[in-house]
């Protein structure tokens, strides 16, 4: 079912985030999106809708939206070949140097908290040119001064082979860019409805910021139209509940 066109100038948080992430993706050949990542998936499909079929979008966990025929290793081989331009990572903890922790909090031998594990992050962070960190929960629990376990480091020494790394961190409150030279985040914009003070008080690490921090631009009418009319029905095949909740796109779409 089509969403109400009259509501076009209103937008949901998810639509804002998808719009921001689509801008970050830019003009590339191939975006791969991990499992259980509906907003990055929406952003990738939005980028594709804007680019008339470019980039190629692989949604992991979907047999329909991936081309893999060489088993589970193909994603990693593909990245190693330089054929994945954008990937998304989240983390139980993310620190101010862009380090990501997907393993545990506390002494790793006697952890106080355990996350699922590093998945492919310890590799993909090194070889995907644009890694977008995505963590909706923006709190001192998630954005920490120093991660307890480095699943994937934000930067590497010059002699370490590295063709990829973080370019940005997006949360439910704001967008940071990442400066790989200084290994620091810079606050780029604060989302509508949120404040700089709120960002500062909820962020566990130090970051750069301009004298005046802009507000994250609202999605354009055209972006909202593409999200609702083009992206939502595609997304519904993989994330039916998300698509229904956010876009009103049902399983019948």
């Amino acid at each position: 079912m089509a969403p109400d066109r009259q509501a076009n100038f209103e937008f949901r948080d998810e639509e804002l985030l998808a719009s921001v992430v689509a801008d970050l993706i830019g003009d590339v050949r191939h975006v791969a999106v991990g499992n259980a990542s509906p907003i990055p998936a929406a952003a990738a499909l939005l980028a594709r809708a804007r680019g008339n079929g470019r980039p190629y979008v692989s949604l992991l966990g979907s047999q329909r939206h991936t081309f893999w025929t060489d088993g589970g290793r193909e994603l990693f081989d593909c990245a190693g070949q330089g054929r994945i331009d954008v990937f998304f990572l989240s983390g139980g903890e993310i620190d101010g140097e862009g380090n990501v922790n997907l393993v545990s909090v506390g002494d790793p031998d006697r952890p106080a908290m355990r996350f699922p594990g590093s998945f492919g992050s310890s590799y993909l962070y090194f070889v995907v040119p644009k890694v977008i960190l995505f963590r909706t929960e923006h709190s001192k629990r998630t954005l920490v001064p120093k991660v307890a376990f480095i699943s994937a480091p934000g930067g590497s020494d010059d002699n370490v082979h590295r063709t990829g790394g973080p370019i940005a961190l997006i949360t439910n409150r704001c967008l940071f860019s990442f400066d790989p030279e200084r290994r620091r985040f810079q606050l780029e914009s604060v989302h509508p409805g949120h404040t700089l003070a709120e960002v500062i008080v909820n962020t566990g690490f130090e970051f750069e910021r301009p004298p005046d921090v802009p507000e994250t631009p609202a999605p354009s009418a055209e972006t909202l139209r593409l999200l609702r009319e083009v992206v939502a029905p595609e997304l519904a095949e993989v994330y039916p509940q998300f698509a229904a909740r956010v876009f009103g796109a049902g399983k019948s779409a």
Binding site: N35, A36, G61, Q63, W68, T69, D70, G71, G72, R73, E74, F76, D77, G80, L102, V103, S104, P108, R110, P111, A112, M113, R114, F115, P116, G117, S118, F119, G120, S121, S122, Y123, L124, Y125, F126, V127, F149, I150, S151, A152, P153, S156, D157, D158, N159, V160, H161
Partner: protein, 277 residues
């Protein structure tokens, strides 16, 4: 030639206590019926390697006390949350954990498949994953000769050669060939392992290797030791192109397995009840 076993328990005879057991990721056909049979049999001190991640299978085996060491890149129930028995075991220190990263496991199995002692892998330098794996090593890439003062460090991973690979697939033929479709890591897993045990949805009449379309997705029986039929053998996990998750069941599992008592109840209800059947 593999035997088509009379029963699931017969086929699982190859999986001894203390053995190194390789199992596949969720989306490649997880042998859940076989997993429940191993728990009923009281399998002990397994060194479980999930290529490259696991979900319900590892969580069940850990909760049931079958696992001594776990080597994988992540254990999670995905949209159903953290894996509760895995998490509890790590926090209590009751299993040894060898954290890896997905492509490292793929590469280490490929090393064994190719009969080489190690495989190189990019990435990993500076991670705690590497720091906590004394069995992995770093060398300077000998082909990087341009900058002698700036060596190019690269990780080498020792080959993984499991005692047994255990997997579930859509079908086997009467020659013992197993059709795995595009889940190629199952082929690598069998090549890399000493023995391979397979459960299948059904037996297919005819020989996959004589049909070019089916041959392309076939694990030859040459690599397979025993096969048992287990209909809906991946349930409640999905079998690609055949059936999806049983989401209601997984929600029930996640809720019950949150406590020791609930997990015991789950075993009684869904694992041991089969003993009576």
């Amino acid at each position: 030639m593999p035997s088509i076993a009379r029963s699931l328990d017969d086929a699982l005879g190859a999986i001894a206590d203390d053995c190194v057991l390789a199992v596949p990721r969720e989306s490649a056909g997880v042998p859940m019926a076989a997993t429940r049979a191993l728990i009923r049999r009281g399998a002990k001190r397994l060194h479980l390697i999930a290529l490259p991640t696991s979900s319900l299978q590892a969580d069940l085996l850990i909760g049931a006390g079958c696992v001594e060491t776990l080597e994988t890149s992540a254990v999670s129930l995905g949209e159903f949350g953290l894996a509760p028995r895995f998490t509890a075991a790590i926090l209590s220190g009751s299993i040894a954990m060898k954290d890896a990263t997905c492509p490292a496991l793929h590469a280490a199995f490929q090393a064994s498949e190719k009969g080489v002692p190690f495989m190189p892998l990019r990435g990993l330098i500076g991670t705690d994953v590497l720091a906590r794996r004394p069995d992995w090593t770093v060398i300077d890439n000998p082909f990087e000769r341009n900058a002698p003062n700036a060596p190019d460090p690269i990780v080498l991973l020792p080959a993984i050669r499991p005692d047994v690979a255990l997997l579930h697939a859509p079908m086997a033929d009467r020659e013992g060939n197993v059709w795995i479709g595009r889940q190629r890591e199952l082929v690598t897993m069998a090549h890399a392992s000493e023995r391979t045990v397979v459960t299948v949805e059904k037996i297919h009449d005819g020989n996959f290797l004589q049909d070019p379309a089916l041959a392309a997705g076939t694990l030859p029986g040459f690599y397979v030791d025993s096969i048992a039929v287990a209909e809906r053998g991946a349930w409640p996990l999905p079998l690609p192109d055949h059936y999806a998750w049983d989401a209601e069941h997984l929600k029930e599992y996640a809720a019950l397995a949150a406590t020791d008592e609930g997990f015991a109840q789950y075993l009684d209800r869904y694992v041991h009840e089969k003993r009576a059947a």
